[in-house]
Symmetry: C2
Subunit: 307 residues, 2 copies
């Protein structure tokens, strides 16, 4: 039942950078994204089309997207909050978009100042337009494994939202552990619940944060439950500015190391990916929390000393 | 098959501190160990009885052990390299000892300057004496999931060593991923191999390092395979001075968070354990790699600001 190959959806240029105090120059973003795609990643969420003043770190979306290299077989994705954001994304040439809302009312309210019902209506509209344009759509359900304000989030709330998103026509529904509260048993139970509700495994993806150290264990559990699409962020870059305690996405290199070690194909060249993680550290000027890129860098330095 | 409760064996005072550049004062070690036991941990490896000049960080073993608090139901463990070390441990009042060797010849040679066969003979002698004294013995097999010098380590080498240790009478055989190379599939395969060879699950334990980010996922895999004893180190303190690239043990708090979230009982009070991790950071004067204690500290600071 566990897939023999997986697809990794890279979120560092968006979910990572939006949580950094530093505003990274467009040129450095282009270079990071180029390196990520060159390592073999086929899906990269490159920016967000929320109002520029909401997230200054990503306010260069309009300049960034046209500067992205042509990369065969690689999809650039943009996060869109609503129909206006979708229009901006389309104008830039983005063909793949991600919508978002939260499973918890409080988090949704604080994040987008809407009720979950209002968000679902807005997303429905976005999905219709995007599909009419022949675009791909993925839809995040944030706080699906716990909310920093409400604590436990009932799995049934996530189930109802997931069904509504599936009904709207989202290609993929992404279960987000926004503040890293989930555990492997919960991950497997939620996936089973959604599959039992009629959502096929190949329309589900998972998005884990490592706030409490559980991200990779949760990814393993999701894979065991049949999930084949995993969000991750190079070097563990990222978080969520509206979620207290959110720190670090699942590190892409750590995920690739685990899967490749298990014989599960990712299509990613691990040393090149680790180098992209080292590059991300150099751009941000601080150590990033992922493990494998640190190991890689240490090994390179030892090799240089003994050479 | 997966156990409903687990036992956590805390290694930070030994495996953690032996890899720190700082020599921690005996008094601070006593306080750390007191806090660890107070959080509910029932097994703590407190020091090593290798020659003091080999590992200066642990050269205070003789002063440390007599100063440990009386703690009902808590076992203090000491690492012993040979019969001389065992004698020193007994003189201090230690009643539970851990022996060690490596599954890889090269690592064993570099670590203790013996062949694996020589090490097994020495351990056999130690186990006999310890058992005659009515002591408990656990035996580490290091590099069981990979060697920094040899790369892959054949599972059959570990199987033969494990059988010899079981034959000698070691109560528990500990599979050590000394440089964090293992993956969940490999972990489950090795456990199955040993069980099929006749070693009961309750005589096996696992000891993971997080060098490549896989420690908690490997622990999950081991638990799924029936393992109930897990080594961990508060805040992820530790490594191995003779293993290039070894960085950080599995963090005890992250392990406890995962298991308790899954309804698997650990007997540990998580906030108290996280505070012990914060204390370890203050003693060492640097940030330690575990996640949960960092989350805990951030949450405490936010609560203090809003109070």
């Amino acid at each position: 039942m566990a897939p023999s190959s997986v697809r990794i959806y890279e979120v560092s240029p968006r979910d990572g950078l939006q949580n950094e105090a530093t505003v990274v120059p467009t040129e450095s973003k282009v270079e990071l994204i180029r390196r990520l795609a060159a390592s073999g990643l086929q899906d990269v969420e490159v920016t967000s089309f929320v109002r520029p003043r909401w997230i200054p770190q990503l306010s260069d979306a309009g300049e960034l997207v046209p500067r992205l290299p042509a990369a065969d077989g690689v999809a650039w994705w943009g996060l869109v909050p609503n129909a206006v954001g979708l229009e901006r994304a389309i104008e830039c040439g983005i063909r793949n978009v991600a919508t978002f809302l939260s499973a918890s009312e409080t988090h949704n309210k604080k994040n987008v100042n809407r009720t979950v019902r209002e968000s679902l209506a807005g997303i429905h509209e976005v999905v219709q337009v995007a599909r009419d344009e022949g675009m791909s759509v993925r839809s995040y359900i944030s706080t699906a494994f716990g909310c920093p304000y409400e604590g436990d989030v009932p799995a049934d709330a996530t189930r109802r939202i997931a069904l509504a998103l599936a009904e709207s026509g989202a290609d993929t529904i992404v279960l987000g552990d926004t503040v890293g509260m989930g555990n492997p048993a919960q991950v497997q139970a939620l996936i089973r619940l959604l599959v039992d509700a009629g959502i096929p495994l190949d329309r589900l993806a998972v998005h884990f944060h490592d706030t409490r150290g559980t991200a990779l264990a949760n990814a393993l559990a999701a894979w065991q439950a049949g999930i084949a699409t995993f969000d991750a962020s190079v070097a563990g870059l990222g978080g969520c500015p509206y979620a207290p305690g959110a720190s670090g996405n699942l590190a892409t290199e750590d995920l690739v190391y685990m899967f490749e070690g298990m014989g599960v194909s990712t299509g990613v060249h691990l040393p090149a990916l680790a180098e992209a993680g080292v590059y991300a550290e150099s751009v941000l000027g601080r150590e990033l929390p992922g493990r494998y890129h640190q190991y890689h860098q240490g090994a390179q330095r030892r090799a240089a000393r003994t050479a």
